[in-house]
Symmetry: C2
Amino acid sequence: MPATRRPTLHDVAQEVGVSAKTVSRVLNGDGPTSAATREKVLAAVERLGFQPNLMARNIRTGGPDTTIGLVVPDMGNPFFGTVAGGIESAVRGRGLTLLLGSSGDDPARERDLISTFLARRVSALMVAPAVGSDHAYLKAARATGVPVLFLDRPATGLAADCVVSSNRDGARTGVAHLIAYGHRRIGFIGDRPAGLYTRRERLAGYRDALAAAGLPYDRALVAAAHSQQDAAAATDRLLGLPDPPTALFAANNFAAMGTVVALAQAKRREVALVAFDDIPLADILEPPLTVVAQDPAAIGAAAGRTALARLDGDRGSARTTVIDTRLVVRGSGEQRPRR
Amino acid sequence: MPATRRPTLHDVAQEVGVSAKTVSRVLNGDGPTSAATREKVLAAVERLGFQPNLMARNIRTGGPDTTIGLVVPDMGNPFFGTVAGGIESAVRGRGLTLLLGSSGDDPARERDLISTFLARRVSALMVAPAVGSDHAYLKAARATGVPVLFLDRPATGLAADCVVSSNRDGARTGVAHLIAYGHRRIGFIGDRPAGLYTRRERLAGYRDALAAAGLPYDRALVAAAHSQQDAAAATDRLLGLPDPPTALFAANNFAAMGTVVALAQAKRREVALVAFDDIPLADILEPPLTVVAQDPAAIGAAAGRTALARLDGDRGSARTTVIDTRLVVRGSGEQRPRR
DNA sequence: ATGAAAGCGCTAACAT
DNA sequence: ATGTTAGCGCTTTCAT
């Protein structure tokens, strides 16, 4: 069976015996239409299975495409999946659809995707940046009026809207929780590279908590890891120090997993642990894992709302929205230090 | 600053002093062009920051939009996120981008999304169906030549390409593993409703394994759950039976989590467990969780390849691709039955 | 090697 | 209440 040509507005018009514009009016409900023609038109639309070509419509109206371009480092990461879901919920009512691409944390690929999305004339562009990408080149794009918004981390080299977690505050709270249980030497296992925004913020929170408690900051207790394996190795290393930490703060979700695995394998259940970002099954680990939970759905929703506000003409200066984190106490932070 | 109008092909042409068509030729490399004009054109393109409007191009060429529409029940589920990533990798080389929507397992919303995607003239449509949706209505759409492809479950009411895991075989292998360790009463905690494809297949595999070992099938050992909480409750119920199972087979990932949680809370570590679908941290649970792992990236990749083949003119009849599952032995299946 | 005109499917702006 | 014309930004077709 050869592919039947998709019916056009014209086909419907001919079928009914009216002009294309009349059909258009019925479908979009702008001009006035008699009830009789409206009915006939709708019947013909149904019969032919007509679907207006959205691209043609967008071209003619000159407006942007009714899509939001979203670039994330990794789709398999439920954090970004949930963020995407939050965006979708927020913009669905406005008829916007998500165009999604993953950069694999490669700045070049991220640029490619952004460029494709802009060529598609997306209504708005949202980017959860890859490690090491710079966004100064987006200034030109933004001058054309496309709202550009950053997720999880602010843009580099560009003042743009962004939505982030309360990284510093969250980390401070998590570390303060450990300090409250008597820990004075607390290891920090964070992301790499050291300059990475989320790592920097969370490390700052860690130092805030130490300072507030009058504890010294010891660089020997700070490790960097960019994979679960790395984090496990870093955990082993910290625990092997001459004057080892009695508690650990894992500053992101794979650090959390790596640390949990390392502690379990080393049978070091007495080491207290708080992690940034929640993980599945945290409550049945032994001990149950205390975390500083992010709210990815809220991040997505806030991003969606900000984009809509920009599309509605909000020309205010770049705005940073901070989404609260929440300390979820489950037990692993309450192990007392052993001496 | 007012939004600067996006430059068009015409603007570039004027800037250089040639016709629009010449610019088009340079950019698409079809007609012949002199090296001199090519250079001038490219310079002007760079200077103006011109990006061809993909929608306009698609309209004119009459081809489908260079997107693949993907509908999944839930974006936050890493299974679907990873599937999406697999699709993207497979089709990226052909310049196709993902248009993504989540149905929230609501058939009406799924239909809406599909309809929007078709109106956008996607090159291909991929659907991981919501529970309870019927797809007979897609026959019309498919007659227009859009490849339609189902993920995770086959279509209902329509013969279409689909890519699924080896559910039956995988379940059989997982249950056989339990039988090999001496279990004769094995509980099955599956999805709801009972008619759901994946549940049916996995239950069939469970029965295959029982039959192969000459064990009776006892309906009292089969439970249904559609959330982690449900699954935990079902686990408690099965363990409370007069003649309780000594092992459990959790037939999907939330059943897995629910069962793990229930066993941990009831301190019933001696109950053997195998789960369908891998979960994070499975290897540090106590005991480490043995699973029948799916390969979502391979599912996505296969789907992408199938779609490309269809776009390349493959008109063969509907094809079902089965992606192998893999038994990952970690320990929880090796608890011996207590008597 | 380049340009002019026509048209993809639709809607804005003016008719009637 | 409906039709006509023009044109969105691009590419096809046919000239030159």
